[in-house]
Symmetry: C2
Subunit: 425 residues, 2 copies
């Protein structure tokens, strides 16, 4: 179209969106491509799944986030391939077409992996997008409904058993929230059983929850989870998942209507198109400036990038994606200007996870702490980073209401198709 | 279970829910059965469809609404039949079972009718439940995305043409909201076209919009719709709906990616089980006390009931359902006590419809008015009747935000399956 260099960004998650924003004043044209029209604030998606928030609270239309940025175009399209040799991206929807670029930032992220057992997916949904959150929400709420309608105790016990597979932040937050729903939100809603009798089991192969956190955080999280009524099954691996529950590798069987998946990460298949070395998880092993070996005009950020950090790699969470997106944007501009790029330096702002009302763990500036102060910090940090002023106000209002009433506002079961396991009339 | 008379209510819409609440202090056991876990505040459902509100704002879990009512049990189940001779209701989910009653209140409502052309449904979704609202919302938002991506002007024009079939309150409110989205909400979001150029067409077979309202309301509504940029095609009937648009019975063709259905009502099939006379629309012709001829222990309320009102029948809107539900509840108690029932007397509280920001029509106490005062009254009435204190606060907050910014917070396109018409990659 014109001579202004064209920077194409694939993906409107943390990496892609912050890359686009970082280019607001750069002398480039920016095109951001995503197959969804909305950015999802992943750290709060579990609250949509547990009926605390509505989807629009954590999802901002990418188009309106970038509305004021005159050099940015947003395209709703599915990326079907990258052709690095010809500097082209192949798109589908509404019709197949190609998009040329001078610099490319790939931020297409990851989804959940069932370790080769893709048939488990229908019995144990994961939590990556808004539809996943609705599916998980419907399953949790339907389980209580099935307990109310159950004709025998075995069926009721199975309905009231919730298994969360994976003890990372998402698993910990899901398990804590389900326990809170059972003990408080649902307390007076049923006539045939006491929801507080629900069993919430968190399974992880490691010997501690939050295995990627410091040990003090893991210890505190385990204590807080148990205090909330969550049963921890550590050092345990899932050998099978079916309609009736899950079997562990030591042969133990947990009969449960609801199994949720918070383990395993599979990266976007676009990484393979780049002709670059991948790690075991399929992540692209990037150069220190986040570019792809052999293709200095292509940058990879977020969950799809394997970025060296000391002996290991940066974790697949929001901050490395945000900071990586900004760094890649700056390097993309340097690149199209013919300047030397700069190595990405990650600044560790700390880690945190919440277990439930007034309970969280955090590590800030090397100091681990837990309980109410960590929870207040968690609230403050998440409200601050949440995209959209409207969303901040509404989420604060929802949380304040929930804090005083123990209620959860988004108890909407969607889609009769999710009535589980062939018992749909 | 015990000797307390059992009142069963089928349906958790306005009729059923207000019937249940009216029985709070009655010496009866109440069981409310609905296939959904939530009551939907129908008058605001079009705002979910037009991205102004999130689903939980207008949907309250029936279970928590009736939480404090000790004599009420809520059952999530699909009603498959009624056996008046044995005083039994047949249920499905989680397993087939029956439920006996001493008095029965049937409030299972209606859905949309395509006048025998059920194949139109996939091209022109209606608006009865939360999933419908998500479908309509996705189609409206996707149309603008397709306009941005369009490669030729014909495709762009088709993407930017919205046809709403049916000029009753739902159709009027949908058309007004779409026009407002195009002219204001989307104003700065696209780079390849001006959203204000979108064409919104409202089609109705009658010679005026809001045909069931007084003529002054219809005139004012037509004026306000035109001022908002809505094109009115009155006295026009739809002869065909397909993937590319709609054809009218005079042969006129409107090429449009988005056709929405706000015409035609089909009542719940349960009416047929009652062995009572039905009107042409399938509604049960009830006695003055709302009972079914020949079955004084069965009452029908809401959209499924044909309730005489002068020469005609009460319309299928919220107030007749609410007042009918309360009256049926009182008569059900009289009936199980062996007392004489009382005829239902409807108290007309007025009618209203909104066209958009600061624009509405209303009829209160026989006086028709329009514009800003009618709109303020509309806001006040809808906030007052909305179920749930939390919802009232959140909806007011959303409306206030939208009023000042022209923004709409719920711009989330769900479900890639809704990418329309075979162009899904």
């Amino acid at each position: 179209m014109n001579n202004t260099p064209h920077v194409v960004i694939l993906g409107g998650g943390f990496g892609g969106l912050y890359a686009a924003r970082a280019l607001a004043r750069a002398p480039v044209r920016v095109t951001l491509v995503d197959k969804r029209n909305h950015h999802v604030f992943q750290p709060l998606l579990y609250q949509v799944a547990t009926a605390a928030l509505s989807a629009p609270d954590v999802a901002a239309p990418i188009r309106s986030v970038l509305r004021g940025q005159a050099n940015a175009t947003v395209l709703l399209a599915e990326v079907t391939g990258i052709d690095p040799a010809h500097r082209l991206v192949r798109l589908a929807f509404p019709e197949p077409r190609t998009l040329g670029y001078d610099a490319l930032i790939v931020a297409t992220g990851s989804t959940h992996s069932y370790f080769g057992h893709e048939d488990w997916a229908r019995h144990a949904p994961g939590l990556k997008d808004v539809e996943d959150a609705f599916e998980v929400r419907s399953r949790i709420l339907l389980a209580f409904e099935r307990a109310e309608a159950a004709l025998d105790e075995a069926a009721r016990t199975r309905a009231l058993t919730f298994v969360v597979v994976g003890g990372g932040p998402t698993g910990v937050e899901l398990a804590g929230a389900i326990a809170e729903i059972a003990r408080h939100t649902m307390a007076r809603d049923f006539r045939n059983f006491d929801p507080a009798g629900a069993r919430v089991v968190l399974v992880d192969g490691s010997d501690r929850v939050l295995p990627s956190y410091v040990e003090a955080n893991s210890r505190d999280a385990a204590r807080l989870l148990r205090a909330h009524g969550v049963e921890l099954l550590l050092g345990a691996r899932v050998a099978a998942v079916d309609a009736g529950g899950t079997t562990l590798d030591d042969g133990r069987r947990i009969a449960a209507d609801t199994v949720l998946w918070a383990a395993g990460v599979a990266t976007s298949p676009l990484g393979k198109d780049l002709g670059a070395p991948l790690d075991r998880a399929g992540r692209v092993l990037v150069e220190p400036d986040l570019s792809v070996p052999g293709h200095p005009e292509i940058f990879v950020v977020g969950d799809l990038a394997a970025v060296k950090d000391g002996d290991g790699f940066l974790p697949g969470v929001a901050q490395p994606a945000i900071q990586g997106g900004r760094a890649a944007a700056a390097n993309a501009v340097r690149r199209v200007r013919g300047e030397a790029t700069q190595p990405f330096r990650y600044r560790d702002l700390g880690t945190m996870a919440t277990i439930g009302r007034s309970a969280a763990v955090a590590l800030v500036g090397g100091r681990a702490f837990a309980g109410y102060p960590a929870w207040l910090l968690w609230v403050f940090v998440h409200i601050t980073w949440l995209i959209g002023f409207r969303n901040r106000l509404l989420v604060l209002a929802e949380w304040a209401w929930a804090y005083w009433t123990w209620g959860r506002g988004a108890r909407v079961i969607l889609d009769r198709n999710s009535w589980p396991k062939g018992q749909d009339p």
